[in-house]
Structures are given as structure tokens and as C-alpha cells.
Symmetry: C2
Subunit: 216 residues, 2 copies
């Protein structure tokens, strides 16, 4: 019996819980207390209890949580039971890294196509898929169910590609480009990975810690 609305910060923590629980399962651990979980995750025990309460709470006083039920429940909340068909736009370094590096299947995704406009990349093979000419995009989207587009294109190329994908009916995006899709389209789902932003946040954290040290 879980609440219907889970807050964004809790959602962002769910994958971490899921990873930790997967580790515990692998190690043959069947139960865990909120204290152990908090030690391992660097969160307070009360924060963990609060998080887990959001979706039912499997803890029994003195017995802790069942690793298996918690793992399965979080997987279900994350919607990992489905398989979504994804295409990758952009077969440059980043696109290639994403294609090769990600264990899509484990997360409920299946990569079914890769597209680029660079004649040197078209025809090469990435993760068993031949890179197609971007001109074939609409035709491909017609003939296949494309649930998700992974955008690994330069910022300048993103608006035009996004428009073509949108017109072809694609509504879910994993966006690595520095283009804010959701500003242009309001009925799409976007998860952004802005690596430059992340680097800037690191920069902030470092300079902030220097400041703190100087003030000490």
C-alpha cells in the first residue's frame, strides 16, 4: 500500500537503493536494518525509514527489511518490468560510449537503432547495430515502435532532430545534448544528462570548500 505521489528527491534516491539491494542480494544477505542500510548509503536511518515509508514500508520492528521484497518493490516502482525500445541519435564518442557502456537490458531498455549524419560513421557497427543514415529516421520510426530516443548530438543539431523525432511520434527522451527539450515541448518526458553542468557543480563544490577552509 504505497502512496501515489513520491517526491522527486526520493525518486532520485531509488536507483541507489536498488543498486545497494542488488549488491546485498548477490552477497546472499536476506534482511537488513535501516541502520545498516543508512551506514552503507550515507543517509540517516530516519531518512531511510521515511523514504521506505513512502512506498509501504516493509520493516518489522527489530527484524529490519527483507532485501528481496524491498528490491522487487523498488524495481516495480521504477517500472523496470517493461521493455522500452530505444534508438540512439549520434554515433560520436559520447553516443558510442553510451551504447557500449550501458547495460540497457538490465534497466528495461532495448537498443534497436543507431543514427548519424556523418558518412564516416554510417555503416559502422556499434553494439551489434549498423549505424543508419539519419535520413532513414522517419521510415524507421514508422516501421518500429520507438519508445525512447537517446540524444547524443551537438547542441546545434538538437532542435532540428528533436522536431523530427517529435513529429515521428517519439515522446520519451534521454537527453545528453545541451538543449533543453522540455522548454520546446510540454507533452514529452525527458531525463537530462548534462555533463557540463555536472562538471560546473563539481567546480562549485571545490571552490566552496576552499572558501570554507580559508574562513576557518
Amino acid at each position: 500500500m504505497r502512496k501515489d505521489k513520491i517526491s522527486v528527491p526520493v525518486i532520485k534516491r531509488l536507483p541507489r537503493y536498488y543498486r545497494f539491494l542488488a549488491d546485498l542480494k548477490e552477497k546472499g544477505c536476506t534482511r537488513i536494518s535501516s541502520r545498516e542500510l543508512s551506514d552503507k548509503m550515507g543517509l540517516t536511518a530516519s531518512q531511510i525509514r521515511q523514504d521506505l515509508n513512502c512506498f509501504g514500508g516493509f520493516g518489522q520492528q527489530g527484524y529490519g527489511y527483507s532485501v528481496d521484497s524491498l528490491y522487487n518493490e523498488i524495481g516495480q516502482i521504477l517500472g523496470l518490468g517493461h521493455t522500452y525500445q530505444a534508438i540512439l541519435i549520434g554515433a560520436g564518442n559520447l553516443g558510442k560510449a553510451v551504447a557500449v557502456h550501458m547495460t540497457f537490458e538490465k534497466r528495461g531498455f532495448s537498443l534497436i537503432g543507431v543514427f548519424d549524419n556523418d558518412t564516416e560513421k554510417i555503416g559502422t557497427v556499434i553494439r551489434g547495430l549498423t549505424v543508419s543514415d539519419i535520413s532513414e529516421l522517419e521510415d524507421f520510426c514508422c516501421k518500429n515502435t520507438v519508445d525512447v530516443a537517446i540524444l547524443c548530438v551537438p547542441k546545434e543539431a538538437a532542435p532540428a532532430i528533436a522536431e523530427r523525432l517529435y513529429q515521428a511520434g517519439v515522446r520519451n527522451y534521454w537527453n545528453f545534448s545541451h538543449y533543453d527539450l522540455s522548454v520546446e515541448y510540454d507533452d514529452i518526458i525527458v531525463e537530462n544528462v548534462h555533463l557540463n553542468d555536472s562538471l560546473m557543480v563539481l567546480c562549485y563544490k571545490i571552490s566552496d570548500s576552499h572558501k570554507a577552509k580559508t574562513e576557518e
Copy 2:
């Protein structure tokens, strides 16, 4: 005259402001109202005013914000004036993508070394740097100032590498590995990029939107 403590969500938004303001500068735009900024950023005008108030607020009633001052101030808050020397650990697909793809210099970082333990990668050249044998790590850290380590290694390799980097005095990490460094070390600065987590969040958003549609 800005406040000393800026909240995490505001900090996470700063790079986006910074990007948008860079775009505006490029287009020759000198002033912008909070309403225009909010339209472009997909935030409410009041949220933007609140954010910008955190660090002084450059807005004048009816005149909007000066693009230049805002850009410079945010850059300063982000600590972009420095140059931090970074090394990359792991020259696989992901490490290569990060090395080639990122405009480090623009973000105040300079990549000065790349390390791997794979004899096939050692000696190859990435972004003008020859990939060194990981056995040379300690020596390198002795002879150079290493402010940041970029971890692009598999999860299994991360704990041992992290320990070596920590012993060599590295305290700042841009972490792409699925290993939670901050649990092990409490006096380090870490910015995590967990691509698998991001993919799971996308999965959640998609399945959540399906649920919402079914319930309509």
C-alpha cells in the same frame, strides 16, 4: 552582497542559468526580464527571482537583469575562475568519450594525465595525452598537482583505485563509476554521474506517465 549558503537545488540550477546567459550574450542581448528568463528556462518567474535573490539580485524593477553582470556573478559563484588540474582514470569507451567530448578548459579544468591498466590502451593517445600505465599513478601525483580525478573505471576496480588516489592526496572526484566514494571517505568532494541511475529515473518517469494515463 550574496548569502553565504546557497541551497543544493539552486546550485544545481546555476549551470543552466549560466548556459542560457552565455547564449544570450552570444546573441548580443544585454538585458533580460525574469519573465523572459522563466519562459526560456521553464521555471516560474517567481522561482527565478527567488533564485537570483540568493546571490544579490541584479534586477531593477522594470529594467530586468543585466545579462553580463548576471553571467559573471554566476560564473564567480560556480568558481569558474580557477583552473583545476585533472587526471582521467580509465581510457575505455566512457573515459574516452568524457576526455574527447568535454570542453574542460571552458569549465576551469585542465586534463593533464590519462591512466589505464589495459596494455592495449597504454601508449595510445587521447586528447593529445598518452595513456599511462596505472602503475605510474603515485609517481605522477607526486610530481604534479592533481586537483581532481575523473573516475571512469568499472565498479569492481573503483575501491582499489580510489584508495590509491586518496593515499596520493587527491580529494576531489568526478565519479562515473558505480561506486559510492563518499561512503568510504568523508573528507572528499564528489560529484557523481551515475548513468544507470539516470536511465532508471527515465524508466520511472515513463512508467509513471503510463500509470497516470491509465487512471485518467
